[in-house]
């Protein structure tokens, strides 16, 4: 018995834990950092760089930070659903403040831990409350982290055709064909703009047809919008697809990230919205989102949300062109054939 105890004293609970592979996206940056070659450059992770290859802090962010510092606010817990004025401003940014959904209040927006946190909250909400299906359809290809997020939340992943390697463009016919065969009441995820990783977006006429099929097949539309304003430089243009779907009577859910368009990456600013039937449904949905969030991290971090909210609600900081085009000024030359931050060159992998 003593021998066993001694033996067990050397034994670790974690002997069978495998070394996990480096993250496919963030791992590229780790490797980049380790590289000592003078010529190195990082074209991996999705973070904006100025013409000197340096991170860029928006002027409006610096101004907002100064304003916030001057107010000397406290550090009390935010509500579980986050900073209310941020949530409202975020929904208005996505849908337009004159949108019928905003006016009627038939929506709920909760602050989340950037885009990832938003997707996870959304995926978990669907796992618990979307009783029609476990199936989520992603465009092929999609952001690498979509699959593990939905999987860890308990959903099953499938794909619909999206990128056509022959044309380096949108495979519209393939997408329509696949989507028209998706079992009714499945969940389908769309990138609202600046598709990641291809940089290829449907044109408005194509979005119209996609919306029609989604409606016809009664699919549940989940929009991931991580680049509003960043794709075309126009807030409204970039969220056109989301707004169009809603106009067609499709009550979507929406993930937003402010990592890229406000350069607030490490502050983890995001939102998750559910367009509902009415205010009552929105209240009930909100209560359940809070029940999901509480055992994840209790309530979200304030710093980034205060900055984003200041920008979105302040007349001088928020004029659409101002904070967006300033983030776009150095690279508009990229926005000829492909949108957004990425270029999908036709290299074989």
């Amino acid at each position: 018995h003593i021998g066993l105890t001694e033996k067990l004293a050397c034994y670790s609970w974690w002997s069978h834990v495998e070394m996990g592979p480096p993250d496919p996206i963030l791992g590229v940056t780790e490797a980049f950092k380790r590289d000592t070659n003078a010529k190195k450059m990082n074209l991996g992770v999705g973070a904006y760089r100025d013409d000197n290859g340096k991170p860029f802090v928006l002027n409006s962010v610096r101004k907002a930070e100064a304003q916030i510092a001057a107010k000397k606010m406290d550090k009390e817990y935010l509500p579980i659903a986050g900073l209310a004025e941020f949530n409202k401003a975020s929904a208005e940014l996505a849908l337009g403040d004159t949108n019928e959904v905003i006016k009627s209040g038939r929506y709920v927006t909760v602050q989340t831990i950037s885009g990832t946190g938003s997707l996870r909250v959304g995926a978990s909400f669907l796992q618990r409350f979307f009783k029609y299906s476990r199936d989520v359809y992603l465009p092929k290809p999609s952001w690498g982290n979509h699959t593990p997020i939905f999987r860890d939340a308990g959903m099953q992943l499938h794909a619909y055709r999206y990128y056509d390697p022959k044309t380096c463009g949108f495979d519209f016919a393939g997408a329509l064909d696949d989507i028209s065969k998706i079992p009714e009441q499945s969940v389908i995820l769309f990138h609202a703009c600046a598709h990641n990783p291809t940089g290829v977006d449907p044109r408005p006429e194509q979005w119209k047809e996609l919306a029609a099929v989604v409606k016809k097949r009664n699919l549940f539309a989940f929009f991931d919008m991580a680049y509003q304003g960043f794709a075309s430089g126009d807030i409204n243009r970039d969220s056109w697809a989301v707004r169009h779907f809603i106009e067609q009577g499709i009550n979507v859910v929406l993930s937003q990230s402010y990592a890229k368009n406000m350069g607030l990456y490490g502050e983890r600013v995001g939102a998750f919205s559910v367009i509902c039937k009415d205010v009552d449904e929105a209240k009930r949905v909100e209560s359940q989102l809070k029940i999901l969030i509480r055992p994840m991290y209790s309530n979200p971090p304030v710093n980034g949300a205060r900055i984003a909210s200041a920008i979105l609600t302040s007349p001088d900081l928020s004029s659409c062109s101002s904070w967006v085009t300033k983030s776009q000024h150095a690279w508009h030359h990229l926005v000829e054939i492909q949108t957004g931050m990425r270029s999908f060159p036709s290299l074989s992998f």
């Binding site: 067990l8 004293a9 050397c10 034994y11 670790s12 609970w13 974690w14 002997s15 069978h16 834990v17 495998e18 070394m19 996990g20 993250d23 963030l26 780790e30 992770v45 973070a47 991170p55 802090v57 930070e65 100064a66 510092a69 000397k72 406290d74 550090k75 009390e76 817990y77 831990i113 950037s114 885009g115 990832t116 946190g117 996870r120 982290n145 593990p148 997020i149 999987r151 860890d152 939340a153 990592a259 350069g263 607030l264 990456y265 490490g266 502050e267 983890r268 029940i291 999901l292 509480r294 055992p295 994840m296 991290y297 209790s298 309530n299 979200p300 971090p301 304030v302 710093n303 980034g304």
Partner: protein
């Protein structure tokens, strides 16, 4: 549950204000992503705070930290990891023991992480208003081997009742013999007694006894950084290799929940902990908070005893941390709320931080009335 000054106001620690100014003036800082596991200087120093300057485990390089969103985030990441990798692969049936009573979110965290068998271990003895050590040890003896036990490192929430050093030794002995996994929740280090080392004694004792353990640390209270969501999951393993593999799997878990943690709060803590002057100032700020709470405890007890309020009131000063389990029953609690407009939990738990020199008399006389009117 947040600290309040004697004016009943939230308190941003002076050292935090200083450090925030420093950060704001540092033009070299930006808002780039942190690594998945967080800010390295934060992680290392946060673990050092919990385990001690001279921690053998740190010297032997078998400690890892995961920066998380508050104590809740640290608990959740730890729970997700345990569900996937502890006691087999994806073993959702490993019993998880939570003290009775405990912070109500403990249960939700482990349920949502996928554990199917959540149990209570005896902790609070309502009759004697203290720790039910006998019940606790019995529950540990009868727990299935490899069960996970959530232990409050100090300032037990909500009872304010901690095991003594000798009692911790007994607990550790049983847990070692029964192969039970210690998962510490440390939300009040420094805040409880005013002394960081004293409040970390239990965690450090377990480490010195050779346990592999998790410690979920929160910097919400002791740094007053509630809304910045600053936490650290400290992982203590048998050796470097095990800890490295554990951390690599923690990355996978973090990546699908929040990708990488928020930078502001971690920067504040890391800056403070790595500068001797700021560190000293912080310890002083922490002592200010702890001392005020201790003062309110002794003042409340003194008043109740002076009023001759029926019952014994030494538990008010014997309990520790933010909360006190007053022992008020539901009827007495209702009276306090409805008639006296003093809001407390149905369990009789009060937040000592809500007491001030100005309201002590009112609170004491109200408790007196409640206890004499209702039995």
């Amino acid at each position: 549950a947040a600290y309040r000054t004697d004016e009943g106001q939230p308190w941003v620690l002076p050292v935090v204000k200083k450090v925030e100014q420093k950060i704001a003036n540092d033009a070299s800082l930006n808002h780039e992503y942190l690594p998945i596991l967080g800010l390295p200087e934060f992680r290392a120093n946060a673990s050092r705070i919990a385990l001690g300057e001279d921690s053998r485990a740190i010297k032997e390089n078998r400690v890892g930290g995961v920066q998380c969103l508050g104590g809740t985030g640290a608990l959740r990441i730890g729970a997700e990891f345990l569900r996937r990798w502890y006691n087999g692969n994806n073993n959702t049936t490993t019993p998880v023991y939570i003290s009775s009573p405990s912070w109500e979110n403990h249960n939700s965290v482990f349920v949502n992480a996928g554990f199917k068998d959540i149990r209570a271990y005896r902790y609070w003895d309502a009759a004697k208003r203290g720790l039910d050590l006998e019940g606790l040890l019995e529950d540990m003896e009868s727990a299935p081997e490899f069960s996970i036990f959530i232990l409050h490192a100090c300032a037990h929430n909500p009872t304010g009742t901690d095991p003594t050093l000798e009692q911790w030794k007994q607990i550790a002995a049983v847990m070692k013999r029964r192969f039970l996994f210690p998962f510490f929740d440390s939300a009040y280090q420094g805040f409880a007694s005013g002394c960081l080392d004293r409040d970390a004694w239990a965690v450090r004792y377990f480490v010195s006894e050779g346990f592999e353990l998790f410690c979920a640390q929160s910097f919400s209270k002791n740094f007053g950084l509630y809304n910045e969501r600053v936490g650290n999951l400290s992982v203590v393993g048998k050796d470097t290799d095990n800890v490295q593999r554990v951390l690599s799997q923690m990355e996978k878990i973090v990546r699908t929940i929040w990708s990488n943690p928020p930078s502001q709060g971690a920067r504040i803590v890391a800056t403070t902990l790595t500068c001797p002057q700021l560190f000293a100032e912080w310890k002083d700020n922490v002592k200010t908070m702890a001392d005020r709470v201790l003062l309110m405890r002794s003042e409340l007890r003194a008043r109740l005893q002076a009023l001759g309020t029926p019952g014994t009131w030494n538990h008010i000063t014997e309990q520790i941390g933010m909360f006190s389990f007053t022992g008020l029953n539901p009827k007495q609690v209702e009276y306090m709320i409805k008639e006296k407009h003093i809001y407390l939990m149905a369990s009789g738990r009060i937040n000592m931080c809500g007491l001030t020199t100005k309201n002590l008399d009112y609170v004491a006389s109200s408790i007196h009335e409640a206890v004499t009117k209702f039995q």
